[in-house]
């Protein structure tokens, strides 16, 4: 049974009374439209699917407050679900914007290479052995050599010599902000040259060296 828009109010009414079969039919009727709406808003199938599940759960928890008003009862049901879905999608999009802004704001206080590494899989997932790691370290040094001198210098001072951004700025007699910008560009260039797996290994190797 797929009642489309017509019959939604009846199904909703029975669902609100606790009829699970009515919910199954209602679910089948409203989810295709909601999925389409969410996909249109977030432009990602997996995220849209997650938000769809969240919409259904949120609607279920809030169902006690649902009331049919006006003459278009079936459309009201559709609109109620759509409103919940839209609000969740907007929350999700706002969260993404906040995250990006936070990253940009916190840029001064963060280690750019760690930031890139944080988005990557763990080293265990790549299951590489020490020999491979050393081979990649060689590639890292080759990639470093390809960087512009100003960027390479900063990476070497930061990661190899272990200086802070402020110390590098003092040593090079430039502003700390400029150091951070160069560092950011350098690490992005390294990530591009090496690929994420090698860059991750590079970070790990540097960490072990530091610990030693």
């Amino acid at each position: 049974m797929n009642p489309g828009i017509s019959g939604l109010a009846t199904l909703m009414d029975r669902y609100l009374d606790g009829d699970e079969r009515a919910f199954v039919h209602l679910h089948a009727a409203v989810t295709p439209r909601l999925r389409g709406l969410l996909h249109k808003l977030v432009r990602d199938s997996a995220t849209a699917e997650d938000l769809l599940q969240a919409t259904l759960l949120k609607a279920h928890l809030a169902r006690g407050g649902f009331e049919i008003r006006g003459d278009h009862a079936d459309a009201a049901v559709q609109a109620w679900y759509a409103t919940i879905a839209r609000n969740l999608a907007l929350d999700h999009l706002r969260g993404q914007v906040r995250d990006r802004k936070r990253r940009a704001d916190a840029h001064d206080d963060r280690d750019p290479i760690a930031e890139i590494a944080a988005d990557l899989p763990s080293i265990e997932e790549w299951q590489v052995d020490r020999e491979t790691a050393e081979e990649i370290a060689g590639r890292v040094h080759a990639a470093l050599a390809q960087l512009p001198a100003g960027q390479r210098e900063i990476v070497e001072l930061h990661k190899l010599a272990g200086l802070s951004m402020a110390e590098i700025a003092e040593r090079l007699q430039i502003r700390e902000g400029a150091v951070r910008v160069r560092a950011h560009r350098a690490y992005k260039a390294l990530a591009r040259l090496l690929g994420p797996a090698a860059l991750l290994l590079f970070v790990e190797l540097l960490g072990e060296r530091g610990a030693a």
Partner: protein
């Protein structure tokens, strides 16, 4: 998110229904106990099993409707479609008429039945209402009238209560007088239905608001 919201919600609704069933099983047991006690104290009519088979069948149908079907719809344990609900309502009316009036029903339609009694307050009226009021109190106090969102749920419960009282008096009073059965049994049951409906609707309004 790796959840299936649909499955979770169906599970939640099933749990809700199981909760209702657990809640109303004692109320059903108490109703049975009360009706059984009433018939035990007042006594079964001596010709109970001498009635025509179709009349006994109608009375059995009334028991089934008032003890199981109508309360199940009223408290949200069963959600029949519109056609089934209409059929249930019609069946309740027909079974109540046939079960309570029996052969007198035919006589009534032919206009030849014994109408020894007109409307009057007698012991059967008091017994019918007396049997129904505790059942009504049970329905209201157990929250049965307020389980469904719409007030219609309270009406199904009220129908069950009045049919229970009607069948109890039918199994007690051996009268075959059409006038007596029509006014003192059916009439009292209709009066009880009205009272139960009003009480149920008020309880629904109050308990849902609370």
């Amino acid at each position: 998110m790796s959840v299936d919201a649909g499955a979770l919600i169906v599970g939640d609704l099933r749990a809700l229904r199981r909760g209702r069933a657990r809640h109303f099983a004692p109320a059903l047991a108490l109703s049975l106990l009360f009706v059984g006690g009433f018939l035990l104290l007042e006594g079964l009519r001596p010709d109970l099993w001498l009635q025509p088979g179709w009349q006994i069948a109608a009375q059995m149908a009334v028991w089934l409707l008032c003890l199981v079907a109508l309360p199940a719809v009223g408290v949200g344990l069963w959600f029949p479609g519109r056609a089934t609900r209409v059929a249930l309502g019609l069946m309740a009316v027909v079974a109540a008429l046939v079960g309570a009036l029996g052969p007198g029903l035919m006589d009534m339609f032919q206009g030849s039945g014994p109408m020894g009694q007109g409307p009057q307050l007698d012991r059967c009226v008091a017994s019918t209402i007396g049997a129904g009021l505790p059942l009504l109190a049970l329905g209201v106090l157990s929250g049965a009238s307020a389980q469904r969102r719409r007030a219609g749920g309270a009406l199904w419960v009220s129908g069950g209560v009045s049919l229970m009282a009607l069948d109890a008096i039918t199994w007690h009073c051996p009268s075959d007088d059409l006038g007596h059965n029509l006014f003192s049994h059916l009439g009292a049951a209709v009066l009880l239905l009205i009272v139960a409906a009003i009480a149920g609707l008020l309880a629904h309004r109050r308990q849902r608001a609370g």
